[in-house]
């Protein structure tokens, strides 16, 4: 069973619709015990970083999430991915979950349209179980104005948007973060969610 963290994130239902379609057992929860017995955890998220961290803090689950991320797969999606880093400067400096070293800042290019919205092609730089069996080219759906800045070793895939935008990040162990929305990235996005579930077995 995958625990989907319920802290009021807007894409919670989209993520769960995709999991239901794939017949993947999951539970929407803010209960530490449910997260504890889950095989994997998904942290959804859309909107602004400080408000999301504040909502997550109110659930009292930050310690639980960090602890579980040491022993079972965790997937952060979109803002949920950004929250895996140490901090963001969206509306002032705000601390994140610090599960992956790095930080989140506004997309630096002055030339491109912001938000980065639409389907962009992934450049896969690391063999990652999330991409298992997925044929190139892989386009996934992005919508964001802030991006991660981290070491190459934590980037499994990036996309080009007048610069490198980390698309799939990992701590090299259990923690994964997708800047794009696998639940809105068609068949290939669904395959990634399926692959994530298989990692949890």
């Amino acid at each position: 069973m995958i625990a989907v963290i319920d802290y009021g994130a807007g894409n919670l239902f989209s993520v769960c619709n995709a999991l239901s379609y794939l017949n993947i057992a999951h539970e929407i929860t803010k209960d530490a015990a449910v997260i504890g017995k889950a095989d994997a955890v998904i942290l959804p998220g859309v909107g602004a970083f400080p408000a999301a961290m504040e909502s997550l803090r109110k659930t009292g689950l930050i310690g639980t999430i960090k602890e579980n991320a040491q022993k079972k797969p965790l997937l952060g999606i979109c803002l949920g991915m950004q929250m895996l880093f140490e901090q963001s400067d969206e509306m002032g400096i705000c601390e994140g979950l610090s599960l992956i070293p790095g930080e989140v800042r506004h997309i630096p290019s002055k030339k491109v349209i912001i938000p980065h919205m639409g389907w962009n092609e992934l450049v896969i730089t690391q063999d990652c179980p999330i991409f298992k069996g997925i044929e190139q080219p892989v386009y996934t759906y992005f919508v964001h104005s802030y991006q991660a800045f981290c070491k190459d070793e934590n980037i499994a895939a990036y996309c080009e948007y007048d610069g490198k935008v980390p698309a799939l990040v990992t701590d090299g162990k259990y923690v994964f973060g997708a800047q794009f929305h696998p639940e809105k990235s068609g068949e290939k996005g669904l395959m990634m969610l399926r692959n994530f579930e298989e990692m949890a077995r």
């Binding site: 239902f13 989209s14 619709n17 379609y21 859309v46 602004a48 639409g118 389907w119 962009n120 092609e121």
Partner: protein
């Protein structure tokens, strides 16, 4: 590289898909959920549902259609028509919409854009705009399905829409909508030059090359069409192949 998006729009009325030519004379066409699933299969980059009744008669949007679609279609869904409060937005998002499109309500109450962006995030606030040439070299904004001239200058309006935090603009030209002579390139160019948020071209697609032309000659990041796709005159794969052949990035 970021791909340009091809977006079919399903106008929904009493649970059925319709398409009005110049917003008049509608033909009944089919089940919106089945249509959305078919578009998804064809490779649509997003799908738009527009509840045309709601905007005219103040009825709630067709949320069951949205709910059913969101359970089987896994590309972004935009829902518009009759959304005029933050509560309407919340309800529509909870039904499974990824973005909400507001049009008349935003012109009448621009604060709705700011409130929506603040509460739900800019990424899900699309401002739809119906505009028409004013005969003096500019464009003016219309509401209620293109029937009422608000005497608001288009370029001033898009500037305010961006400033208030909209994530995207869907620009429909009343002059070209339903005429099928191509998108309104001049109007699109004027708006793309003014804002930095994504602009979707709407209204006027009539033949295959119209899509590539809009991408080549203006800064739009997406193009939307309804009846053209709906009656099967053109398919999404045909449009994408044409664009790809002309060097435009497509998914």
């Amino acid at each position: 590289m970021l791909a340009k998006r091809i977006i079919p729009c399903l106008d929904v009325r009493h649970g059925k898909v319709v398409k009005g030519v110049n917003f008049e004379g509608v033909k009944d066409v089919g089940d919106p959920v089945a249509c959305a699933a078919e578009y998804n299969k064809q490779g649509a980059d997003e799908i738009v549902f527009y509840d045309i009744v709601a905007s005219h008669e103040g009825r709630g949007t067709f949320l069951d259609v949205v709910r059913d679609t969101a359970k089987q279609v896994f590309v972004p869904l935009t829902v518009g028509g009759g959304i005029s409060t933050v509560e309407d937005m919340r309800e529509t998002l909870r039904a499974g919409a990824d973005k909400i499109s507001i049009n008349s309500a935003a012109v009448k109450n621009p604060q709705l854009i700011s409130d929506g962006a603040e509460i739900f995030g800019s990424q899900c606030i699309v401002v739809g705009i119906d505009a028409k040439r004013d005969g003096k070299g500019g464009y003016t904004v219309y509401v209620n399905g293109g029937r009422i001239d608000m005497h608001v200058d288009l370029l001033e309006w898009v500037t305010e829409v961006e400033r208030r935090g909209a994530g995207e603009i869907c620009l429909n030209s009343i002059d070209t909508d339903g005429v099928r002579g191509g998108f309104d390139l001049e109007m699109l160019k004027a708006v793309c030059d003014r804002v930095r948020i994504p602009v979707i071209a709407s209204g006027g697609a009539g033949k295959l090359s119209d899509f590539a032309t809009a991408f080549q000659e203006t800064g739009v990041t997406a193009a939307l069409a309804a009846s053209l796709f709906h009656f099967g005159e053109l398919t999404i794969p045909q449009v994408k192949a044409d664009c790809r052949g002309k060097g435009i990035p497509m998914r």
